[in-house]
């Protein structure tokens, strides 16, 4: 009874999803425009400087200039993007694109221009979501938009803190959409382009490689080889287009050293909630215990957030972590999904594998920023309605990841905003998930035959679960989420009252540790899912 109707709505008006999506986008844009005067971090000046840099200097000097400490450290296509923006910026306010006079320049027009550039570049995100969801059934589609277009994380990082993640994630989504539809060449091309925009997305490259190798380059030795050559040439062409000019000017060494500053420490100044948080804490605890037991432990001189690698170990007891170790760990962690992609490369699962790869990169990577959690959160929103377990996992993960972004906005003025953003997101998710799954249940009850074979082939929990697939979250999750409230209350109110100015790092550390538990849970959950699907 329901299915024919839904199909009808799909067929009758193919243009409609886009107009509807536009509404979601416009509502988000209204909020984004209102947020223009909000706090922005030094990233604002970084991007302004890049505007000036790419506008005033020839290509050959983009990566060697040192006028400002904020040197260009994104790949070349992003530099071209900034150059493109600067073409408009010069008409808005010429000082903005002046290399020397523009330093730390913050006129109203500059702020307006840069903010609007982020808002407008989000159109790529909208297009990516559109590509991914245009073939979904309507109720699913609407809700995916809510998760992606109204993502509080993007709002905080892009439109307040200031970055262009929405734009970059849009390219990723376009690529994933192409892969899901079987257009492997387009997908590979989009991903290569993305890598030339921001190299941090390279974490998923192994997954892409294995998947494309097995899915695209199949059908016999000759045909497969031909396709491999085709794909290779195309990817190579993208990289040549991006890096070629720098090779020509003899700048490539400089470009690479800028893009991979391994001089930075294992963790960012604010520890991203990942595996290394536990490692650090374990090291501290061990050192403390051993000291108590009478061992002589030398206090580490280096910090793990900065300093050059190899100078001295930042750890008291445990072995030092080098970039190579993190690299190997990430690869190891990703490997289950690689095995899966090798054995049975299915287009419908590629999004999951990519999401998993980014989760691993986030958990075990070198010098990870908390913002990197968006790399897996946003694509995960696409597949979240496939089952109830997915939904409750996403519910937890998105709240945790959004909460872990809170320290980015530390000023009082933005405090209610970030709180309301998270609250709104949680309510929307709760309303949406419960409505969606209760409707799905009703539809299944009314005609079990047609719905039995789920389009996505994912097993619903049978047996006891079959008569109750409503959206619920377990009590452990509830307690954990309430714990976030405790952590926040401690950091905001109790800590200043009870401890005053002592241990000023404690609230941030608590947030990191507490969110790291959620992130680890999410990783294990995803890993289990992938391993299970291998077994079956």
């Amino acid at each position: 009874m329901k299915d024919p109707k839904n199909n009808q709505t799909q067929i009758t008006n193919p243009n409609k999803p886009f107009t509807e999506l536009l509404w979601f986008f416009l509502i988000a844009s209204c909020i984004k425009f209102l947020l223009i005067p909000a706090y922005h971090s030094t990233d604002f000046e970084v991007h302004r400087h890049w505007l000036a840099l790419t506008h005033s200097l020839p290509l050959s000097q983009w990566y060697s200039d040192e006028t400002s400490p904020w040197t260009l450290d994104y790949p070349p296509l992003f530099a071209h993007f900034e150059h493109f923006l600067s073409l408009f910026a010069q008409f808005i306010d010429p000082t903005m694109v002046h290399l020397q006079n523009g330093l730390s320049y913050k006129s109203h027009l500059t702020i307006f221009f840069q903010r609007v550039s982020v808002i407008v570049s989000d159109i790529v995100l909208m297009y990516g979501v559109y590509c991914l969801t245009r073939n979904l059934e309507r109720r699913k589609r609407n809700f995916v938009w809510v998760l992606v277009i109204w993502s509080p994380g993007l709002m905080i990082v892009d439109h307040m803190h200031f970055q262009y993640n929405g734009f970059l994630l849009g390219i990723l989504l376009v690529s994933l959409a192409a892969l899901q539809e079987g257009k492997d060449l387009v997908g590979g091309f989009a991903f290569a382009v993305l890598l030339c925009f921001k190299h941090l997305f390279a974490v998923a490259a192994p997954v892409y490689f294995v998947y494309l190798f097995r899915h695209y380059c199949r059908g016999g030795l000759i045909r497969g080889f031909g396709r491999l050559v085709l794909m290779g040439t195309m990817v190579f062409a993208v990289f040549v287009a991006a890096y070629g000019p720098f090779v020509y000017y003899g700048q490539i060494q400089q470009v690479l050293s800028r893009m991979f500053p391994f001089g930075r420490g294992l963790c960012h100044a604010y520890w991203a909630p990942n595996f290394w948080v536990f490692y650090i804490i374990l090291d501290k605890l061990l050192a403390f215990l051993l000291m108590r037991l009478g061992f002589h432990i030398q206090a580490p001189t280096a910090s793990f957030t900065g300093g050059l690698v190899g100078d001295s170990s930042p750890f008291a007891v445990l072995p030092t972590i080098t970039p190579l170790i993190t690299f190997i760990m990430v690869l190891l962690a990703i490997s289950p999904s690689l095995v899966r992609a090798w054995r049975d490369p299915q287009p419908r699962l590629i999004t999951r594998w990519v999401v998993y790869a980014y989760t691993c990169g986030f958990l075990f990577g070198w010098h990870v920023h908390e913002k990197a959690s968006l790399h897996f959160l946003i694509p995960l929103g696409i597949v979240v309605l496939q089952s109830r377990e997915d939904a409750s996992h996403y519910f937890l993960l998105s709240i945790v990841s959004c909460y872990s972004l809170f320290p980015l906005l530390y000023e009082a003025q933005e405090y209610p905003i970030k709180l309301l953003l998270l609250l709104l997101h949680a309510i929307l998710m709760w309303l949406g998930f419960s409505a969606y799954f209760s409707k799905t249940k009703a539809a299944e009850a009314s005609d079990p035959g047609q719905r039995g074979g789920d389009k996505f082939g994912l097993k619903r929990s049978r047996g006891s679960g079959s008569n109750d697939i409503r959206f619920r979250i377990g009590w452990i999750m509830k307690v954990y989420l309430l714990g976030l409230l405790v952590v926040e209350t401690w950091g905001q109110f109790l800590h200043p009252i009870l401890l005053g100015n002592r241990l000023p790092f404690l609230p941030l550390m608590l947030i990191s540790i507490y969110c790291a538990f959620g992130m680890m849970y999410s990783w294990i959950w995803q890993l289990r899912r992938i391993i299970r699907s291998i077994d079956s």
């Binding site: 509807e20 979601f24 909020i31 005067p37 609407n142 009082a412 003025q413 905003i417 709104l424 419960s434």
Partner: protein, 417 residues
């Protein structure tokens, strides 16, 4: 019960499935209200990031400074001196000209400000005080008043309004969103800086109480609204318009929205006093409706007497510091209703201002005769709906009556509002 609901739900399913917001109303009206109000709060906070009007613009700054100054006065002086010109209270510098409830509200907010930023409410020295934190605190006082007074009142209103007619859940959700996201209100309170949300919330609460037949509660709430801002009903205009928006359907929405916008932005920006005409026309609808209803009860006189007692009691409590002497009452009253200004200020879209292009009102008549003229015009345009309310009171007509008196008041009253 459950069965009936489910068949009804199935019938509505087809319609509700066709909206892109189907999932928002699925859980019932309270969760939707929660969701919409969090969004509305988000919009309000975002608007409040922007500067208020008159920021960094001495010597008088703007309404922000007026409100801050009232907090300073009420916090540092005894209630008897709030409305009195003295060496400590210079009434020419943003003297208090709103009724006592506003003064109490300023006092409470002043306490809040003093505990976090004492500098911002110090007597004399705090004039023109502007700081990042001070602005934030002031913004938060508006935000909290909005969330504590206006939002619950709207929920009450929507419940009262739909309890009789049993509308669809999506209609209710739309109605809530329409009222809570009214741009004029957000801009005036959280952008320009005022506390309309309180008087408006009380008025909406009063309307809701009338719709749910709680006459005494309605009179208390409305008396409080009047005591917060004497021109409370002017603002009810926007609410009635919101309601109209729903009943007219979507096609009328754009026109009404535009009208709504000009209707409440300009007046609130331009004027702070309203006068006796306001009180008359404001209370007109209420009184006539209540009166009409009382007359239909078993003991009409007793009912009227009860209402009168409640209203007088409320007024007495609010005016407590001033009712001991006639002098202090007249002192306050003279602050509330000054007639020194002309019949219209510039840019106000009212009858007098618009027709002044053809008829030079100010040249033809003297100020006293203009006063009489405008009073007569206001009352005569209010009268039809008021008479009808006394004659046959009904909820539907009551809302139209409110709209009518708000409009006539806005269009014809003295000093243009």
């Amino acid at each position: 019960m459950e069965k009936r609901r489910s068949t009804k739900a199935r019938k509505e399913e087809d319609d509700e499935d066709n909206t892109i917001w189907w999932w928002l109303v699925e859980k019932g009206i309270i969760p939707s209200f929660l969701c919409i109000s969090v969004f509305a709060l988000l919009v309000r906070v975002s608007v409040s990031l922007h500067p208020y009007s008159g920021a960094g613009n001495p010597p008088k700054y703007g309404d922000y400074e007026a409100q801050r100054h009232w907090m300073e006065i009420t916090l540092n002086l005894p209630p008897k001196e709030w409305y009195r010109n003295s060496s400590t209270n210079d009434l020419s510098y943003w003297g208090l000209d709103y009724p006592p409830l506003t003064a109490y509200q300023s006092y409470v907010h002043g306490l809040f400000l003093r505990s976090f930023d004492p500098e911002s409410v110090k007597l004399y020295t705090s004039r023109g005080y502007e700081s990042y934190f001070g602005k934030l605190l002031m913004r938060w006082t508006v935000l909290s008043s909005d969330a504590l007074v206006f939002f619950p009142a709207v929920l009450y209103f929507v419940f009262a309004y739909y309890s009789g007619r049993g509308g669809r859940k999506s209609d209710m959700a739309w109605h809530i969103a329409m009222i809570l996201l009214n741009p004029c209100l957000i801009l005036i309170d959280h952008g320009h800086f005022q506390y309309n949300c309180i008087s408006l919330g009380l008025t909406v609460g009063a309307v809701a109480a009338i719709l749910s037949n709680r006459d005494l509660l309605a009179s208390v709430l409305f008396s409080l609204a009047l005591n917060h801002k004497q021109d409370a009903l002017k603002d009810i205009g926007s609410i009635s318009l919101c309601w109209l928006e729903i009943s007219m359907g979507m096609e009328g929405l754009l026109i009404v929205f535009y009208f709504d916008f000009t209707f409440s932005i300009y007046p609130s920006n331009k004027s702070y006093q309203s006068g006796v005409a306001a009180l008359l026309s404001v209370s007109g609808s209420y009184c006539s409706h209540l009166l009409g209803r009382c007359l239909r009860r078993r003991n009409p006189l007793f009912e009227v007497f009860k209402l009168g007692c409640v209203v007088l009691g409320t007024f007495a409590i609010v005016w407590w510091p001033y009712i001991h002497s006639f002098h202090s009452i007249s002192e306050v009253l003279s602050r509330l209703a000054p007639f020194e200004r002309g019949i219209y200020e510039d840019y106000v879209a009212n009858f007098w201002c618009t027709t002044s292009v053809l008829i030079k009102w100010k040249r033809l008549f003297t100020t006293p005769s203009l006063k009489v003229l405008s009073l007569a015009a206001t009352i005569s345009t209010c009268l039809p709906s008021m008479v009808r309310q006394v004659w046959s009171p009904s909820s539907q007509n009551f809302l139209y009556g409110l709209l009518n008196s708000a409009l006539s008041f806005y269009l014809f009253s003295f000093q243009g509002m």
